[in-house]
């Protein structure tokens, strides 16, 4: 191009052949630049030249500062740019990256920013995902934790069952103990040298080391019987493993040298055994009242005053059995008794079904009257209550993650009826749902079932019962309105049996009760957790036994337990008899049955 003569007037090699000269700036820009570049801007061309390390040749040091090629000429020079030397053109390159970068950067600035934004966005998304994963992991762990808790409760139940087996073993051993004791007594009375043998046998059978046995036969029996006694007491009330430990502590108190096994158990959880004590006492109280009332209200008081039997009024009540209310201080006694009665009433309504933990009940009911009364009933059964005004609220609560052990559901409610609510809840939760309704009509039944609600067949017209049972496949419950306390309690116990301390204890306590003398009721009293209580209990029993049969107070310790009592009394009488009258009568006494 520089050699093209057509452009000689515009651009040509410099005179020395080591530079080129733009003579006509304006013409160069207009006619030549567009042919080789995308622009027609001389300044840009100069900038490009600079980038390729061409430099404008200045002539400041020459005369007048004028260029030899004319005033408007631009001469550019590059070390490698020489006439007739095309090979060296390869050496003409853009400047090194270090110097090029500042120039390049402004051009690509915008794309880079966008790119960075993208990058940040991606990172943000990634972080969010991570967060979500963490959240999921957390939820998973929470679930696992809940499962673990459930498992723990199961384990506790298992342990409780084991304890109940222990209890049975104790009862069995006690029987053996009694039998052997009788045998021994008889043989001793006969003067036979069987004593030591049977003694050691006795001891090993009872699992207690021989040195516990005190000289007196009756007192020998008492530690074991006492222990069993305490065991049974608490079985009525037991709620937790802690109480089990408490029991063992009691046993250990009763039996002077604890068997190593029990000792070890205590050693494991000494703190919890402390904590269990008050509760067990409280539980005892609440359990006892109904029984006491049942036994005593007919013969102790005229109707209307018996409900308040209270631990603190025990002595008073018993003294009232023997004597009518004293004339002196009558007003005061009446007052205080009324107060007790009120207290007793308060406590007697607080039926404690003996939950492992307070069952979480959701009461869904639009009618404020029913809701309040239902809630109050549930409260009296030691349940934790949540209420919902209608099906919609119930569904919201459950879909928000609230967990309930049982849901009591009204059927006809505004916004969302019970059947629809039940159907929806089944998507989240499988807790038993009990329909509370006053009218069960045939067409309702199908609805309940399809919605997964539980119906109790007793409340269904008989004609539908077969169909129902087939459909229900074992699920069924309805709480008819107006619900009764008993109905509600039965229902809770049925569906929440897994939260009960242990059903076997209940069934077991009844045979126990049956072979206990009436005196035992006093024994089931709030005593039995500490030595101090014990002495109080003895006092009470003293009253009682005096009232019952006039036996001296001292006896009561050995009278405390069960069927042996009759035997003991007989034996005691027998032995005294023997001691008084000598061998002469022994033959006949021997035949007194052991029980």
């Amino acid at each position: 191009m520089l050699e093209d003569p057509a452009y000689e007037q515009i651009v040509r090699w410099g005179d020395a052949g080591d530079s080129f000269v733009v003579l006509e700036n304006e013409k160069f820009t207009k006619s030549i630049l567009p042919k080789h570049f995308k622009h027609s801007n001389f300044a840009s061309f100069v900038r490009q030249l600079n980038k390729y390390d061409f430099h404008k040749v200045r002539h400041n040091n020459e005369e007048n500062g004028a260029s030899p090629y004319g005033p408007g000429a631009w001469e550019f020079k590059h070390p490698e740019f020489q006439i007739n030397n095309k090979d060296s053109l390869d050496n003409i390159r853009r400047k090194a990256p270090a110097s090029r970068k500042p120039a390049a950067h402004p051009v690509s600035e915008e794309p880079v920013q966008i790119h960075q934004m993208d990058l940040v966005n991606v990172q943000l998304v990634a972080t969010q995902q991570q967060l979500q994963q963490l959240q999921e992991r957390y939820n998973e762990l929470s679930n696992h934790n809940a499962l673990m808790l459930q498992e723990l409760i199961n384990v506790q139940k298992t342990v409780a069952n084991h304890e109940s087996i222990m209890h049975q073993v104790m009862a069995f051993l006690n029987n053996i103990d009694t039998q052997i004791r009788d045998q021994r007594r008889n043989s001793r009375a006969n003067g036979l040298p069987m004593f030591d043998q049977s003694h050691s046998h006795d001891a090993s059978a009872a699992g207690i080391s021989p040195q516990h046995f005190s000289p007196s036969d009756d007192r020998q029996a008492s530690p074991l019987q006492h222990a069993q006694k305490l065991l049974e007491e608490s079985y009525a009330a037991e709620e937790h493993i802690e109480q089990m430990n408490e029991l063992y502590r009691q046993i250990n108190n009763a039996v002077s040298t604890p068997p190593s096994d029990h000792g070890a158990r205590n050693g494991v959880v000494p703190l919890s055994s402390q904590g269990g004590q008050p509760r067990s006492t409280a539980m005892n109280n609440s359990v006892i009242y109904p029984r006491m009332n049942a036994d005593y209200q007919d013969n102790v008081y005229p109707a209307g005053q018996t409900n308040g039997i209270d631990p603190t009024t025990y002595a008073e009540h018993y003294s009232n059995i023997s004597y009518p209310t004293p004339a002196t201080g009558e007003l005061e006694t009446a007052d205080s008794r009324r107060q007790y009665a009120a207290d007793g009433r308060k406590k007697s309504i607080a039926i404690d079904p003996g939950w492992i933990r307070a069952p979480q009940i959701l009461l869904v009911e639009d009618d404020p009257t029913c809701r309040r009364i239902g809630g109050k009933f549930l409260y009296s059964f030691k349940c934790a209550i949540d209420t919902a005004f209608d099906g919609l609220e119930a569904v919201e609560k459950i879909s928000n993650g609230s967990k309930y052990d049982l849901i009591l559901m009204d059927i006809i409610m505004p916004n969302l009826d019970g059947v629809s609510a039940c159907r929806t809840i089944r998507n989240y939760d499988s807790a038993p749902i009990i329909a509370m309704t006053s009218n069960i009509r045939n067409d309702d039944i199908d609805m309940y079932f399809t919605s997964g609600m539980i119906i109790r067949p007793e409340w269904i017209p008989t004609s539908r019962e077969n169909l129902l049972l087939t459909k229900s496949q074992g699920m069924n419950d309805v709480l008819p309105k107006p619900f009764t306390k008993e109905g509600l309690l039965n229902l809770l116990e049925k569906h929440l049996s897994h939260l009960k301390e242990k059903p076997p204890a209940q069934t077991k306590s009844s045979p126990a009760g049956s072979w206990h003398s009436p005196n035992q009721l006093a024994g089931v009293s709030p005593t039995g957790t500490s030595i101090a209580d014990e002495s109080y209990a003895n006092t009470v029993r003293g009253h009682q036994s005096r009232g019952m049969d006039g036996y001296p107070h001292r006896r009561t310790v050995s009278e405390m337990s069960g069927p042996d009592e009759v035997v003991n009394d007989t034996n005691k009488r027998q032995r005294m008899f023997v001691q008084s009258y000598g061998n002469g009568v022994i033959g006949s006494m021997q035949r007194v049955p052991a029980g």
Binding site: A341, I349, S438, P482
Partner: protein, 158 residues
């Protein structure tokens, strides 16, 4: 706490069979067994809990009767039926048997059934008339139990 506290009945609701004098005067409009359950829930001599329940029921009943009037004038049978059901629930919970039975009838009539809820009654007119009659009746029944309960709790008349 003194013995002079006005206690309408002895704290002996547990022995429902004995039938305390005050409860027996409720007559057949109140089921004593059901009502005693509520009384058993009282923690204090003032019967605060059952008192508030009963008071709440009074308000509820009066409001519901009013709504039933509205339902009658707007011939809204389904509304009348659900109002009947609503009041039936709370009256049943309190053992107010007569009110409960009448409310149930209103519920059935509103659902275009006969008084037992077994047979369909196609005529709106018949149903509305029956509801009208029953509403008059249930108001009387309600006033009766209201009187008894107010005496029981020593409410002053409004």
């Amino acid at each position: 706490m003194t013995e002079t506290t006005t206690r309408p009945i002895e704290p002996s609701e547990d022995q429902s069979e004995d039938g305390t004098p005050d409860l027996s005067e409720f007559g057949d409009s109140i089921d004593p067994l059901v009502f005693e359950q509520i009384l058993e829930m009282d923690d204090d001599e003032e019967r605060e809990f059952s008192r508030s329940i009963v008071k709440g029921f009074f308000d509820q009943a009066v409001a519901t009767f009013k709504k039933m009037d509205d339902g009658l004038s707007s011939r809204d049978l389904s509304q009348l039926s659900s109002l009947g059901h609503f009041l039936k629930g709370s009256s049943a919970t309190l053992g107010l048997t007569k009110v409960r039975d009448s409310c149930e009838k209103i519920q059935h009539y509103g659902a275009k059934k006969d008084d037992t809820g077994t047979k369909d009654e196609p005529s709106d007119e018949v149903c509305l008339n029956r509801i009208k009659e029953t509403l008059t009746l249930v108001r009387e029944e309600y006033e009766e139990v209201e009187k008894v309960l107010k005496r029981f709790y020593g409410f002053t008349s409004p």
